[in-house]
Amino acid sequence: MPAVSKGDGMRGLAVFISDIRNCKSKEAEIKRINKELANIRSKFKGDKALDGYSKKKYVCKLLFIFLLGHDIDFGHMEAVNLLSSNRYTEKQIGYLFISVLVNSNSELIRLINNAIKNDLASRNPTFMGLALHCIANVGSREMAEAFAGEIPKILVAGDTMDSVKQSAALCLLRLYRTSPDLVPMGDWTSRVVHLLNDQHLGVVTAATSLITTLAQKNPEEFKTSVSLAVSRLSRIVTSASTDLQDYTYYFVPAPWLSVKLLRLLQCYPPPEDPAVRGRLTECLETILNKAQEPPKSKKVQHSNAKNAVLFEAISLIIHHDSEPNLLVRACNQLGQFLQHRETNLRYLALESMCTLASSEFSHEAVKTHIETVINALKTERDVSVRQRAVDLLYAMCDRSNAQQIVAEMLNYLETADYSIREEIVLKVAILAEKYAVDYTWYVDTILNLIRIAGDYVSEEVWYRVIQIVINRDDVQGYAAKTVFEALQAPACHENLVKVGGYILGEFGNLIAGDPRSSPLIQFNLLHSKFHLCSVPTRALLLSTYIKFVNLFPEIKTTIQDVLRSDSQLKNADVELQQRAVEYLRLSTIASTDILATVLEEMPPFPERESSILAKLKKKKGPGTVTDLEEIKKERSSDMNGSAEPASVNASAVSTPSPSADLLGLGAAPLANSAPPPSSSGSLLVDVFSDSASAVAPLAPGSDDNFARFVCKNNGVLFENQLLQIGLKSEFRQNLGRMFIFYGNKTSTQFLNFTPTVICSDDLQSSLNLQTKPVDPTVDGGAQVQQVVNIECVSDFMEAPILNIQFRYGGTFQNLSVKLPITLNKFFQPTEMSSQDFFQRWKQLSNPKQEVQNIFKAKHPMDAEITKAKIIGFGSALLEEVDPNPANFVGAGIIHTKTTQIGCLLRLEPNLQAQMYRLTLRTSKEAVSQRLCELLSEQF
């Protein structure tokens, strides 16, 4: 037996551990363990009462067995017995067992809680410490219920020992994290804040963690912690390395406490008090200065601790995002680290720079490091570091360097680790779309992606390129020519065949004039790939062939021959067979006119969130890049458009980007008459694009909020960390009035506060809106009101956009939300009898007057709620009209200045299928359409 046990060595335990270590096989180990378990069981069950030492030893053995990975289903009661022992080591082992093998047996929990209660009341600091550790280790709800009220008292009591205070603070933190509802806020909170002033640095260290978490949830209550934290931090960073004695770690004064204080400060905006703010700036400058000083030790611990504080300080600088000087210095510091010989520092510098890239002050400074980052991509040996480099390139990309970055990423893709290829593909696809000035470049890039990493190009990517080509007629010819050329390669990826098949099927005619790509050559080229492809691709190609029959009548017979062949008509795959049969038949019996109608060019796709971006987010989860995306997204929701430097904005103004157009933002970002997004959703990529110099893209979530207002008139339209927008509105006949309330949630003034209501040209002719300007200054905590007078001239589809721009701190904020002025607001309900209703219903039976939508229920199907929504929608709810009592019917008149439009609606729920069928009949097709859209979103 090795003589390694120390202190109170339990000989039996050491022997047992040696035995286990000497076991030659897993089987032998299990045998030895089973023997031991049987032994312990018999001891526990034996008649003879066990003494404390034996109990402790056996409990400890059980613990060891459990930690080896075996299940333990007894011994809890003996462990609980140990808790009430007066011997420290017995108590300690009892607590350890309970902490590791948490048991939900309620009787046991009662006993455990009892023992803890006794120890907490013992006033013996060592016992109290054990009890607190146990509560923190278990952290269950039951523990919180029993002790969440008691621990704050221990924490702030004047006579509590420092070490107990430390344990109590962190124990309370654990309980707050698991069961925040059970931790009562109260008098103690203000006293906890003052622990930041405690003279014992250990107490401050523990308390700071607690305060940080509490402050995140209750920023107002813990506001005073800011100035206390700043002065504490200031005392630390200016102290000589020996001042703090034991809290100096390898010549770095209190690194843990410093980092925790810097974290606490990241819960708040920059301090308002100029003195505090100045002191903090001084601290941050000192930390940055120290980074330039020669190291006081060659030990890695010294540099790690020093740089840990430095990185945390940089995080705070980035969080405040208000001191250009500090931001640029931070960026330069990180730039130095990018070339450091320590891999860890390079990794962290790349990561930290990613967040810096999104600050308007430092974006340009970050961009100067592009060559180093590209070099890292090529030379780093660690895949996690290369991953960070990819993330950073993605973050620093803007219109000025997109071509270079995309080219480098494509380059890297050829040799990239398989684990990150798909992500790079997605990123390249997003950047190429977002910054495409020239769509031929975009098409080339995506085809390159398919060529280099075809296996990693997900459906979303090639769907997207097709959507874009279809929506942009200036690139269609080029796309057709390019895919035609790419398909010439002897071996090309199946994804290329898909893209090629689709694009040639739609736009092959654009290159058919060239004898080198005549219809027959196009067809033969595609058909030469046919047999190598999977079933879905072959199905796609068959559709291409039938489109060719329409586009190129001259090769109709060739195609019919192919369709007629046994390998098609008798294909074992039912989908392929069906297509072959149907397409052959269609090509034989349909006249050219009918063919032309059936096989008409695809209509443009409605714009929506880029599926690629959604995929990237899904793939990465809340990890690194996505985190950045989230940050950017967050930023764009509260400071839309400010994420890009002004110079870039300027260039975007002079050359309106085609991408903005594509993404539905309108090509005239300058004018207030810019048409609002043509669809209900704005492309997410676009949310952080730099195209908006005037009108920010819609804030995320704006659509949801918009939909909530269709059936109601009052509520909160938008809210972020800075601003809340509330609405109150009333409508009568074709007139309405809306009160918009802008609440400044911060304590800082908003300057140049300019809300603008924007209607597209179309909308302007049907909706008259008059707004009064509001005071350009909104004080912290204040609310201003704006009135919008509304007149509905004729029926309309889109919604006006409310754009808000202002300056907050040093940053320019720009955000847009849809203003919920919808056609149904001008409804007047009409009551009518069953007979009247059905008579009118029949009168409106022209197919153009009826619009129907069948959709899945998004909310629980509750009849009462449905009724309320239909009434809220504005029509009358007609009871006992529909023969089926489960159905809902409504009637009303839409009032516009020029005309009145009678509307009937019928909603048929199918509880079993969780579906609805909604039918709208009005005298005007567009009105039926719009009302149906609006109402469908409500259930």
Binding site: N39, Y53, Y249, A305
Partner: protein
């Protein structure tokens, strides 16, 4: 906060596990297997940080033992490395030239020392002197070895 700390040997044997979040045992075992495999397959010259799900693994090897902490995204990676180092120092101070065997045979002590240093995934006491003193104080409360030796072994 730290979500968990794992100590394992180069052979992949788990020597100590400390969880600061509540998870079912099955889940814990799965996580341990996965993480040990990830860390052991990393090359020598790589960084000490690995993204893992929505957490970040920070690890360092001391002789035959790997120390690995799982932290949250906003936690400080470098300082986590020093948390590991400080823990090793505390073990070293207590055992005197600590080695893997000390931790195997005195696993309960390794837990007690960790509890003095970290509670609920947050650093409680960074002063080596205070932490060691707390542990030594508790040893003072123990009975003498002789007292135990008189007790039967099994």
């Amino acid at each position: 906060m730290i979500h968990f700390i794992l100590l394992f040997s180069r052979q992949g044997k788990l020597r100590l596990q400390k969880w600061y979040t509540t998870l079912p045992d099955k889940e814990k075992k799965k996580i341990v297997r996965e993480i040990v495999q990830i860390i052991l397959s990393r090359n020598q010259k790589t960084s000490s940080f690995v993204d893992w799900k929505d957490l970040k693994l920070v690890y360092k090897r001391y002789a035959s033992l790997y120390f690995c902490c799982a932290i949250e995204d906003q936690d400080n990676e470098l300082l986590t490395l020093e948390i590991v180092h400080r823990y090793v120092e505390l073990l070293d101070r207590y055992f005197g030239n600590v080695c893997e065997l000390d931790i195997i045979f005195n696993f309960e002590k390794a837990y007690f020392i960790l509890d003095e240093f970290i509670i609920g995934g947050e650093v409680q006491e960074t002063s080596k002197r205070s932490a060691v003193k707390a542990i030594e104080d508790s040893d003072m409360l123990q009975e003498t070895v002789e007292e135990y030796m008189n007790k039967p072994a099994f």
